[in-house]
Structure formats: C-alpha cells, structure tokens
Amino acid sequence: MSTDNRMLTMAEALREAMGIAMDERPEVFILGEDIGIYGGAFGVTGDLYHRFSPERVIDTPISELGIVGAAVGAALSGMRPIVEIQFSDFTAQAMDQIANQAAKIHFMLGGALHVPLVLRTPQGSGTGAAAQHSQNLETWFANVPGLKVVVPSNPADAKGLLLSAIDDPNPVIFLEHKLLYKIPGRDPVPEGAIRIPLGVSQVVREGKDLTLVATGIMVNKSFEVCEKLAAEGISVTLIDPRTISPLDMNPIFESVEKTGRLLVVQEGPSHGGFINEVIARVSESSSFGSLIAPIKRLAGMNIPIPYAPQLEKAAVPQIEDIEIAARDLVKSWR
C-alpha cells in the first residue's frame, strides 16, 4: 500500500486510528485474544504490537468476562482500554461486565466514577461461519442504557468514529462488519487525527423520492441500489446513522418531510430489532403527517444464521431486496 494512496481498507483505517490514539495518550492500551503477536484474528491490530510494546498491546487468554472486567477496572483507574472481543457473539460471555458493570457504573454510583472503555468486535454474516460466529448484535447493545453504540459502514468513518470513541469518557461498543475489513470504501481515508463525532447521522446522498435509512453493511448495499435507481429517475436520500445510540434523528425527520416515503434496512433479525426505533420515532414525530406511503422495513429473518451459502444469503436483506422495496414504494405511492 503506497503512502499516497489513501484508499485504506477498514482494518487499516482502524489500525491507524488506534496507533494515533496510542501516540496521543499513554493511557490508551489494547487487550484481547490473539491481537498481539498474531496481529488479530482479522488482522486489525496488525503490527501495533511491534510499533508499541507488549504492555500496550496485551495478548490475553480466552477469558472474555475476565478481560472485559479487567478493562473496566483499568478504565476506573485512569486508563483508556480498547478491548477486542474476537467475535461479537462472544460478548455474551462478558455480558455482566458490559451491561451490569460498565454501562451502569456512572449512573449507579451517582457520577462518582466513569468508564472510558471501548469494546471493538467484528459482527455480521456472509463468511460461512454459521450461527455462533455471525450474529449482528446492534439491538442487544442499543437497548442497554449507559452504552454508546457505533456501527461504521466505511473505512473513513471507522477511523474518525474510533478516535472519538476512545476520547469518550463512557463505554462505547464499536461494531465492525467482518466483510468490510479487507475492502476500501468509496472515499479515501483522511490523514491524521480527523475525528467524527459520535451521535451524528450522515446523509450519504440526497434525493427527493425516498428516505432510506440503513446501518452498517446495509448502507453499502443501499448505496448500490441508489445508483441503480438514479438511472431510472428515482432519487433517494440515503442516511447512515453511524452511531445508533445515542441516535441522531434530525436528518431523518427532515428528509421524511421532503420525500414522504421511508424505507429502513438492517442486517439483524427483525423482531424487536434496532431499526424499528427509527420507525417508532418517525411515527411519534410531526414528520408522520408528511408520509404519503406506509413505512417499510427490511431486516434479517428471525432465524440463527444458517451455514450453506445460499441459505446464509437468504437470511439477511440483499441488494435485490432493497431495490425491489425501494422501487415499489416510489412507484406505488404518490
């Protein structure tokens, strides 16, 4: 990778962010399984172990509960740990320390202490890793008061958001999609410590016919759909919340008032899913009166992710599904 080519992959962008943060602040350190010498199961930490030291990039045994708890304790003691949990599915092992401890300490203790912790983990399906290594857990974390939850959809955002997450004095769950690690995004990744604030949604493209809100990898699938529909004369506003908790609804309200049509897309299972929050809030708001079509949502099937590739694909929304839903909304409702 030449230095003037800034089309970094997401893994490279994340690594860059962590390197910058560790240079800026001595109290930042990383811990996780296989992240040191091995460079991380998905190669995200890479050479950070060599650039820094074993004290700053710490390899741990397979003890998710123990290491997240240790991270909480270190965060309470003036440090800023970044914990990498190898698969988001394994956060279940550490749930007491995430949801009962980290999320609640600041509130429960009346503000006496706070937990500046970042928990990074790969999520999502498409690698054939099957049910216990493919979950999208946005919904689990979004529903825990006291956690901030970030879902980057591209390398530039990933870098900027991770820098802000490390700065944040609160626990941040940073959900990265496995399929996005090895590919660059649409845009070059800015050099240096360019931060993107948490809690700000991004309008990826503007249109007048439909408002499309998607998270994570679904933003990228949706973008392709937008390009295709533009050629047919259908213009779509695509919005990526980036931070799903706390959620910035303002651009969404504004857009719905202009387009009158809303389509929401997420990867995780539909029942009780996070994306339903967007629908609920639009329903409750004055932008409801601008709707000229029913609100439509696409989400994963309510099944564990199956193994065989054609089954795995069928379990979550694909580009064709998004395209059909979008076109139908615009054509059928005027």
């Binding site: 350190f29 004290e55 045994p61 123990g66 309470l76 320390q97 203790l109 700065d167």
Partner: protein
C-alpha cells in the same frame, strides 16, 4: 496504618473501626425494621475483623472492590458515615445521590471502586485496577473483597488466572462465612480449605481466623508487601460467620440455633478487646470511650442523613453518560 497491637493508637484505631461497622449495621437493622429503608439490606454483623484487618494494611490510594454485603468494606476503607447512611435512605447527599443504594456505594476519594450487586462482579474489576497500577507503575495495590459464593463464579476463575499470569498487585480476599445464600460451603465445594484453590492458578493461598483482627492484619501485611514487591497476587481466605440471615428476608431456616450460638462466642470485637486488655495496651475506660465514640458517630450520621433532602427525579436522563468535554 499498622499492626493493631503495636501501640495504643493503633489498637484504638482498629477497635474504633470495628465498632463503627458494628454500630452502623445495627443502626441499619433498626431503620430497615422501621420501614425507613427501601429494598433490602445485607448486613455483616460479626464479620468486622476481615475488612478492618485488611484496610489497616492499606494506604489511602490503594483500591478496593466490594460486594452486596459491603458496608463493612466501605467503612473500613474510610467512607463518610453520613453519606453512606444518606444513600441507604435515598437522600441527595448519599454517595450515589440515591441512585445506587446499599449495593452500589463507591467513594473515589478513598479508593473504593464500588460495592457490587452481582456476585463476583467486582473481582475482574479489582484485577483491572491492579493491571492499571502495574502498567502505570503507580505502586498501589488493589483488593477484591468477595464471599465464598463468588468463588464458584466464572469471573473469579478468569480474574484469578489473569492476576497470576500477569503477576498483578492484587489481593483476592475471600470472606468465607460458610454460606452463600442458603447453600453451605460443604455442599458447594468439594474441597475443605478454599484457599487451596490458589494452587490451581499458581497463587499462594492463606487461610486465617476471620474473627481475629490481628491474625487477619498479619496475613494482609504479608500479602500487601508481596504485591508492592511485584511478586503478584495472594488469595486470602478468612473463616468467619454471618450472624444474621443472608438478607433481612431470611429466617435462618438453613442454620441451626446451636451453630449460631457457638459462633457468637467468637465475636471479633470481644476477641480483640481481651487481647488488648491482656497485653495492657488499652484500659477498659479507653475501650468504653471508643465504643461510645463509634456509637455517637453513627447516631450523628443517622440524624444528619435522616434530616437531609430526599433525592428528586430530576436530571436522571442526563446522569446516564458523563458529558463529553468539547
């Protein structure tokens, strides 16, 4: 602080703290019984020697994590009695502003990282604090207080292993009061001596009489020195007894009256008093005065707390996150 028998001052200090814990817990029992405290209370009457002995061996900047039965730990580490009582009474000036209650009292100024409502929840956190101490070369020690019940939680095992492999300055302090809720250690463990579990992780394990504050102190002093020397963690098991049921909801159904009577003879406070009188370090007047001082302090704390303003539901949403500075 120093060895409790090393001087009248030290002896008085140890006695004062044990009395403070005892009187505080008795006051809580009284107030709860009158219906003035919400929820439930977990009392540690009879277990005063453990936290007192441990905290005598610590400095102010050393850290502790505590349990749902944590009033004693918090007091021994130097918490403000009024603020503790106020928290239990749901007042604004309480340690958590009324938002945490008995099981979540923390005091940043005295290195108290918080009591914990989840059994075993504080063990990995104390290990993390010790990790920070080592990485930042602060020279401080972290103590995790937990009960025999927590030793069967996955969190204990993961945390103990991490502490051992990284040689962290942490003391794993198990207060074995023979019962986790209603199951006795006899049914929950296949071993007799809980400190033996240290062997499984390569951590030295020490068992002491939990009703003897001098014995506890001596074991803690050794463990603290080890930790500060970079020699790693110690597992200390204090064998003690809980007089009152698990929480106020119990009826002592699972222990016999004889068992309870037998243990009352091992009350740590008279135990220490007889030692101190025999060694001629304090007089009976000193002892009575110390007892009265503790009692007066608790009465003052209760009066101040009871008359303080109750917490109001304003600012709850804003209290979830710490504000991000620009």
């Amino acid at each position: 602080m120093g060895h409790p028998l090393s001087s009248p001052e030290h002896a008085r200090h140890a006695l004062l703290y044990m009395y403070r814990i005892r009187k505080f817990e008795e006051a809580v029992e009284d107030l709860f019984g009158r219906g003035m405290m919400h929820g439930t209370m977990h009392l540690s009457i009879g277990q005063e020697a453990g936290p007192t002995g441990m905290c005598l061996a610590l400095k102010l900047e050393d850290q502790i994590t505590s349990t749902h039965r944590g009033h004693g730990h918090c007091i021994a580490k130097g918490a403000d009695l009024t603020r503790m009582m106020a928290e239990l009474l749901g007042k604004e000036i309480g340690y958590c502003g009324g938002r945490g209650g008995s099981m979540h009292i923390a005091d940043a100024e005295t290195g108290n990282l918080g009591a914990n409502g989840v059994v075993g929840g504080g063990i990995p956190i104390a290990v993390g604090a010790a990790l920070a101490s080592k990485l930042q070369k602060k020279g401080t020690v972290a103590v995790s207080f937990f009960g025999d019940g927590a030793m069967n939680e996955g969190a204990f095992h993961e945390a103990a292993n991490l502490a051992a492999i990284w040689k962290l300055p942490v003391i794993l302090f198990c207060e074995n009061n023979k019962y986790g809720m209603s199951s006795s250690t006899e049914t929950a463990f296949a071993i007799d001596r809980l400190a033996d579990r240290g062997l499984g992780y390569g951590i030295p394990g020490v068992t002491v009489d939990g009703n003897d504050v001098v014995a506890v102190y001596e074991a803690c002093e050794t463990a603290v020195a080890r930790a500060r020397n970079g020699e790693g963690p110690t597992l200390i098991e204090t064998v003690t007894y809980r007089w009152k049921g698990h929480s106020r909801s119990d009826k002592n159904l699972y222990r016999t009256k004889e068992e309870i009577e037998e243990w009352k003879h091992l009350d740590p406070i008279p135990n220490f008093i007889s030692k101190v009188l025999a060694a001629g370090i304090l007089s009976q007047e000193d002892i009575d005065a110390t007892a009265k001082m503790a009692q007066d302090q608790i009465i003052e704390a209760v009066n101040n707390a009871a008359q303080a303003k109750s917490a109001v539901p304003d600012g709850l949403l804003e209290a979830v996150f710490k504000a991000v500075s620009a």
